[in-house]
């Protein structure tokens, strides 16, 4: 996260780290149910074998595992069948964990939006992750407040790429607060009155975030995929297993 700040442990209990040896942390991910996390499809490019991955939850400092940390192996990776690597469209995947997580203060699922539920432009939401900070990779989870930007306005920043309805944009023209390499798959969450947080986006792509070419970040639009997500979880829970 560029321009963010270090998060307090437990503040984002749905944030998880998708890890693979020998690199360790590769991408962010988001807990949505006891056995299911979401991330983006591009995290698995060239590494679609579930056996090489693990998901770490309840962690704040990647360098100092805590007693609240839970680790699960990956049982199944479900990539969106329309994921297009060339244009980074339909950039979403579902990960089935090897076993249920134990829900604690530090490990809790986030809410999914309703299908086609929109988050209005100019709403302020949060992004989190262990991605690049512009000058270094952090050990501690970072958080940043970003503003939702309309697709039309977002398109004007990316004249070589098409912003589709499967994407939402958030951030600032100046790029002061933005997601960056290593944040992919992590959450863009917005708070509802009553203190409930809903997952509206998954960090997907943007400009080269620590260059001088700035602009907002582009996130996979979770509400576009809710029906697909629910179907896949149902199929893999009740019909295939």
């Amino acid at each position: 996260i560029l321009g963010g700040r270090t998060s307090r442990p437990g503040r984002w209990p749905w944030q998880c780290s998708l890890q693979s040896e020998p690199s360790g942390h590769i991408c962010g991910c988001v807990l949505i149910a006891k056995k299911w996390v979401l991330t983006v499809a591009h995290c698995f490019e060239g590494r679609e074998n579930a056996a090489v991955w693990k998901v770490v939850l309840g962690i704040n400092n990647l360098d100092h595992p805590s007693i609240f940390m839970q680790t699960r192996l990956v049982k199944t990776i479900i990539l969106h069948p329309r994921y297009n690597r060339a244009v980074v469209d339909y950039d979403i995947s579902i990960v089935e964990l090897s076993e249920d997580i134990v829900e604690t203060s530090y490990v809790r699922p986030v809410c999914l939006p309703r299908s086609k539920q929109v988050v209005e432009p100019d709403t302020y939401c949060y992004i989190t992750g262990w991605g690049h900070m512009g000058n270094k990779m952090p050990f501690k989870l970072q958080e940043g407040e970003v503003r939702i930007i309309s697709l039309e306005q977002c398109q004007s920043y990316f004249d070589m790429k098409t912003i589709t309805t499967r994407m939402i944009c958030a951030g600032y023209e100046s790029g002061t607060v933005d997601s960056c390499m290593g944040d992919s798959g992590g959450p863009l969450v917005c708070e509802h009155p009553g203190g409930q947080w809903t997952l509206f986006g998954l960090t997907s792509w943007g400009s080269v975030c620590f260059s001088k070419v700035l602009g907002p970040g582009v996130y996979s639009n979770v509400s576009h995929f809710v029906e697909w997500i629910e179907r896949q979880i149902y199929i893999h829970t009740f019909l295939l297993n």
């Binding site: 209990p13 829970t237 019909l239």
Partner: protein
């Protein structure tokens, strides 16, 4: 002269012994270079004036990229015509000889467009020395000059109202490329090679029609995609599957959609949420005979809801129109869904029906921040 046919074309003379005569001997062939398909002639022969030996070589040459890019600058109205006369020179079918562009066409092109190339640090193609081309003749047969009606833009270009040629891919891309914005006019789906969703202006790709993923409002792109028999139902991917197999516990649609949404809760007038199973495409209520609490939990989980709150057994004298019952030996069956345990055609002895209240799983809550006295 490399090929026998060429030898024939030249006649049985010794002209074909030297390299230069081999060149002169090549036969006319149809033009296939996309950039030049709108010329007032259809045949060419090689090598061309740029030294390319075949059309394939011409198509991947630097010049075949340069001229289309240059034509967008609107430097000369007949630049593309000139470019084609040297890339795919006109072939005279009687003599199998080139008909070159006229010197004036070459000079006008160079005069107006060379300076544009200079701005970006590029040079005019070396092989286009205009003195090699003849002066315009009176009968207009020894060299080529463009007619008034010659197409200025190649088929891979869009012609702006102003006359400028822009790449066809830039038409209707949401950005104005013609100075008069004409590339962004009449941008209907059909003009862009897309399909227009009925009752909306949304354009989608042809391959998105009937692919099992709704893209248009009201799912119009996924309608009328299959023609199932009366005793069949349409799967989400448009396969046809027998009604009887719907929600029977086995996957019959290749996308498993016959087993989706089989268990629901339906409200009745008394606002009880009766457990309902959508067997064979018809809603059935569930008889309370042999019911156990674990089944209530399974039903709630199957509906994507969290924990079970309340199971109610509601006795009604009035039978529902359709119902399903649990066989007495259901616990011996190894199944993962509730609906595959239930059977039809058995009496409901208790005349009682299952009503459930499931709670949604809690989500999106952060632990309260710790308080520190200051």
């Amino acid at each position: 002269c490399i090929y026998n046919s060429c030898f024939d074309a030249c006649g049985e003379s010794s002209l074909c012994d030297s390299d230069s005569n081999q060149t002169n001997c090549s036969q006319c062939e149809p033009i296939t270079l996309e950039l030049c398909l709108n010329l007032p002639y259809n045949y060419t022969n090689f090598p061309n004036y740029l030294g390319h030996r075949t059309q394939k070589e011409a198509s991947i040459s630097w010049e075949s990229s340069l001229f289309p890019a240059l034509v967008q600058t609107n430097c000369y109205r007949y630049l593309m015509f000139f470019a084609c006369t040297i890339l795919v020179p006109k072939c005279d079918p009687h003599t199998n000889q080139h008909i070159p562009p006229c010197r004036a066409l070459c000079e006008h092109s160079k005069e107006r467009c060379e300076s544009v190339l200079g701005i970006v640090g590029l040079q005019w193609p070396e092989d286009t020395d205009c003195t090699q081309f003849p002066e315009e003749s009176s009968d207009n047969q020894t060299c080529l000059m463009p007619d008034e009606d010659v197409e200025e833009c190649s088929p891979s270009h869009f012609k702006c109202r102003s006359g400028r040629c822009i790449l066809a891919s830039r038409r209707c891309d949401g950005q104005s490329d013609c100075e008069d914005d004409s590339d962004e006019e009449h941008c209907g789906c059909r003009e862009r090679g897309l399909w227009e969703c009925p009752a909306s202006k949304l354009c989608i790709k042809q391959e998105m029609i009937c692919d099992g993923f709704p893209d248009c409002p009201e799912k119009m792109d996924e309608k009328n995609c299959s023609f199932c028999q009366d005793d069949e139902l349409e799967c989400a991917n448009h396969d046809c599957v027998s009604r009887d197999l719907w929600c029977d516990g086995g996957i019959d649609c290749s996308d498993s959609s016959d087993e989706w949404d089989c268990v629901t809760l339906s409200k009745d007038v008394s606002s009880s949420a009766f457990l309902t199973v959508h067997r064979s495409a018809t809603d059935h209520q569930v008889c309370a005979d042999n019911w156990q609490e674990t089944l209530s939990q399974l039903a709630c989980k199957q509906m994507g809801l969290g924990e079970l709150s309340v199971t109610e057994i509601i006795q009604e004298q009035r039978h529902p129109w359709k119902w399903l019952t649990l066989p007495s030996d259901w616990q011996h069956k190894n199944t993962s869904t509730l609906h595959e345990l239930l059977v039809a055609g058995h009496p409901c002895q208790s005349r009682s029906w299952i009503s459930l209240l499931c709670s949604e799983q809690d989500c999106g809550r952060r632990p309260a921040a710790r308080m520190y006295k200051r």
